[in-house]
Symmetry: C2
Subunit: 170 residues, 2 copies
């Protein structure tokens, strides 16, 4: 497929100055790949009267049930006012429920209701369909490479937060 056998980095060049086309190709594929993947669920969200912002909250609550508002704020990197609106709408429509923190009662712990779990599962199903097919057509080695490059785009200061999403939510 295309000309991937061509070296992506000119052998003699400084590794900090990759060939411009290689970088532009990454920028473009990241833009188109990301937007097309997220487009995949817009219709389903629309049916429920929700938007992308609601999905992001739903997603992370599904990923780490019982996480606090503060933790979610860090993941989403938006203001508490913006998040507050989104969470209120999700709660009013019965997608999430909250409970006071056990160790610290100032905290509010977020969980999905059954309805919320159902919606998140359906949205995830559609994302998995798209991403799985990309994984399969690219092959296993490509997938690990895909992860490695993306990990390198996440600043050191955020990396722990991102990697902590895996593993400890079983």
């Amino acid at each position: 497929m295309t000309d991937v056998s061509r070296p992506a980095i000119s052998p003699g060049a400084s590794p900090l100055f990759l060939r411009e086309d290689e970088v532009r190709r990454g920028i473009e594929l990241l833009y188109f790949g990301y937007t097309r993947l997220t487009n995949a669920i817009d219709q389903e969200l629309g049916k429920q009267g929700l938007g992308r912002a609601h999905h992001r909250a739903l997603y992370f609550i599904a990923r780490k049930p019982g996480l606090t508002v503060g933790e979610l704020l860090k993941l989403l990197a938006i203001t508490k006012q913006s998040l507050g609106r989104v969470l209120k709408e999700l709660q009013d429509q019965g997608f999430i429920l909250t409970s006071p923190g056990v160790v610290d009662r100032r905290q509010k712990l977020l969980r999905l209701t059954e309805k919320g779990e159902g919606l998140e599962a359906e949205l995830f199903r559609q994302l998995r369909e798209k991403l799985s097919s990309a994984y399969v057509s690219a092959g296993q080695e490509s997938v690990t490479g895909f992860w490695h490059v993306l990990e390198g785009l996440v600043p050191e200061s955020d990396r722990k937060m991102v990697l902590d999403l895996r593993g400890d939510n079983s």
Copy 2:
């Protein structure tokens, strides 16, 4: 780094149903990687009183000088009203200039001014810094894998448009 040697696809499972964690990892890294990369230029754009939408237009005009409004609309996948506002602002501030189409005078061809080229180059420099460092830390093989997976996320119907950005703008 982490446990990438573990098979990403359970050997016995259908390739269309990859393990959930593998897919979630991709979703999350794509989200964080994409947002962190685009964050990198927000400050510079702010200085010029521009936003992300302006950068996307600027980027594609730089990538394919002389492209038409219609072509840019297809790339950005937004309405002509939205694009119209963005282009007007870019033109008013002297970043782009337009000329009537040569073969079809209904068309408007878009190009960067010197000022526009300067800004685009500076924004590109900052994106390249981030992306190059991710490429280097991931390694050459990872980079081609990164591209392959992302190409798989672009629907067949859009792939030609995306691949056409490369090569013929020398």
